[in-house]
Symmetry: C2
Subunit: 347 residues, 2 copies
DNA sequence: AGGCATGCATAAATCGATTTTGGTTGCATT
DNA sequence: AATGCAACCAAAATCGATTTATGCATGCCT
């Protein structure tokens, strides 16, 4: 209840406390930070007085001296057209939602960096001592730029061919693929096609591997298409058109990029075919896009809340230089079954 | 393409540039910031050299000296149970998505502040010079705390009974209410109930006013219930139960809090009634919750992307002290019709 | 008594910029 | 030639903390 008597915005400096306590600035600093040699009684008295005065250290001064920013950034590397649209950076925002909590628990502020192209210049205007990058492509510009500045970086999802291996949280892309493909098989799919992005992301590599292993073990045909992430829904749609024309027998499409998957559904329906009766469709990220698609898309629960917290913790350890951990594996992905892959009655 | 030759993490100081250019630190500072009296040729040469060396000013030093943080916070005041759950802070995150872009355009970093109760202590560990608060309740702790620190604050949605009026972006709560109620009427509703939260938020005030005006003009009964935001879905459900029991004739419920609306739908269905045939349900925020409800909820497009950008701009003006603008009105809300209020065939 | 730790507190240096103040120079005016 | 006035540049103060180096008692030991 002690009504703080200060009106001026945090005008108090360490000198004021020192004067009030009748000691030097040094002693105040030592007392408050539990450092140096200070008589326990003096220490307590100083703390008391600082408390009463409502003293708060000036963060900017502290940072200049200590060289720490106490803040980290969350960076998306997806092109805007995929990230934007109806879900407006859904993936990143879902991560941000739990990451900000985890960050604040560590005493770190979380700053958001949108996937602007122009962001490059602004990226090193940021006073941060670490960054979490979401699914970086190989040789991601943001990543190298940050690392050159000496900012610690960890990624959610492994970076392919990283110049120097980035510590990362494993998203278990192979397992994710396996789960989706197996589900499609259980729903009766005999010819499943894979539609992935052109950029060198690790989740595609994993997905492709899972796909090849899967169809290889079953003597199914290998049908893989690629589309530009930047093309968003329409790129997915276009790729779907090409797929259906060149491989009429397709009865399922696995499109890990949600924007592509929505495009696929639209194209299928536009051709007078039905989802899921004629073509089953599944995607990876279970976000707004997947859920508000008609029919809603079967997807995977990646447990992004836990993943984000793990990422923050890992980054924190690396910033404080007290870890060699370079891979952290999160919870197993779980299937979220929706109407896009399951026929209304029976299977 | 000029490959930056520096490897050490931004070790260069203004002194290095000064030495290289053969001038004083002062002149370098003046030259780079287009300040003071410097020979245009010197100025250009200094800039050139700084560029070549890859000099970047130390942000912490700059901030200590200038007293500006160049960052702002986005603060949610909703209790976690409403904000969390399946949509995981949907409203806040949607705002964050566009706000971060707008912020970076102004050269501001956007930091996220989760609705932790414990956040109070951490809130003034943040080095920010402004904050956007989302729909603050009257006498919101965060708001007063920030203002006392001298941090500029603007809100998205007006703060009720603000001690000193907060500049805000008008969410047009009255208009939102009118749109929803009119839609329900058009769908044949004769007895619409209103379910709002107990906390003193302006959107409730507006909504209630719109409701009273609406039913008053039509000789419909006034049926208003309130539930604790902190109770989330189950509170909404409980309130719905009470409503249906005390007013059996209800044929529509307007529940602006999406968590409440979902609770309402569940309760209605649990009682063997149908949505929308027996009870029409509408909500305000068109987020994940509204869309993944079964049936999906009719809601309102608040144009949060534009709203957020307006908020950032307004805050920016206030930080730079060059505005008296205290209210900014965004785009008109628009109805998003979904199955929760429209019967499958005919109306 | 001389010598040596030891405990406590302070003065001064430091972080890297910006801003204030002051001092040269060159040129025009009387 | 003396004065004034810009224009240009630099030294030093400043921002508010942390860290280092130093000083001064006091107590203990031989």
């Amino acid at each position: 209840m002690s009504e703080s008597p200060l009106r001026a915005p945090s005008r108090l400096t360490i000198a004021d406390v020192a004067r009030a306590a009748g000691v030097s600035r040094t002693t105040v600093s030592h007392a408050l930070n539990d450092r140096g040699q200070v008589d326990p009684r003096t220490r307590e008295r100083v703390k008391q007085i600082a408390q009463e005065l409502g003293y708060r250290p000036n963060l900017r001064a502290q940072r200049l001296r200590t060289g720490k920013a106490n803040s980290i950034a969350l960076v998306s590397s997806m092109p805007f057209s995929v990230a934007g649209g109806p879900s407006r950076l859904g993936f990143m925002m879902e991560v941000a939602g739990s990451a900000m909590e985890a960050a604040l628990r560590q005493g770190l502020a979380l700053v958001l960096v949108p996937p602007l192209d122009a962001a490059e210049a602004l990226l090193d205007e940021l006073d941060i001592d670490g960054a979490v990058v979401i699914e970086p492509a190989a040789h991601d510009r943001n990543v190298t730029q940050l690392q050159r500045r000496g900012v610690k970086v960890v990624s959610i999802g492994r970076q392919p061919e990283g110049d120097q291996a980035l510590p990362y949280i494993d998203l278990q892309g192979y397992e994710t693929g396996r789960i989706l493909l197996q589900h499609l098989e259980e729903q009766g799919a005999l010819r499943t096609a894979l539609l992935i992005g052109t950029q060198p992301r690790h989740s595609y590599v994993d997905m492709e591997q899972a796909y090849r292993d899967f169809v290889g073990a079953r003597d199914m045909p290998v049908i893989i298409a690629r589309a530009e992430e930047a093309g968003g829904e329409s790129a997915g749609r276009e790729a779907c058109r090409a797929l259906l024309e060149s491989h009429p027998g397709i009865d399922a499409i696995c499109a890990p990029v949600d924007a592509f998957a929505v495009g696929v559904v639209k194209e299928v329906q536009a051709r007078g075919l039905r989802v899921p009766e004629d073509i089953r469709v599944v995607t990876r990220y279970d976000g707004l896009r997947a859920r508000s698609c008609q029919p809603p898309l079967t997807a995977v629960n990646l447990h992004l809340d836990e993943i984000s917290a793990l990422a923050i913790d890992l980054l924190f350890e690396h910033i404080n230089g007290r870890t060699q951990r370079t891979v952290v594996t999160g919870p197993k992905p779980g299937l979220v079954i929706r109407a896009s892959s399951v026929s209304p009655r029976g299977n």
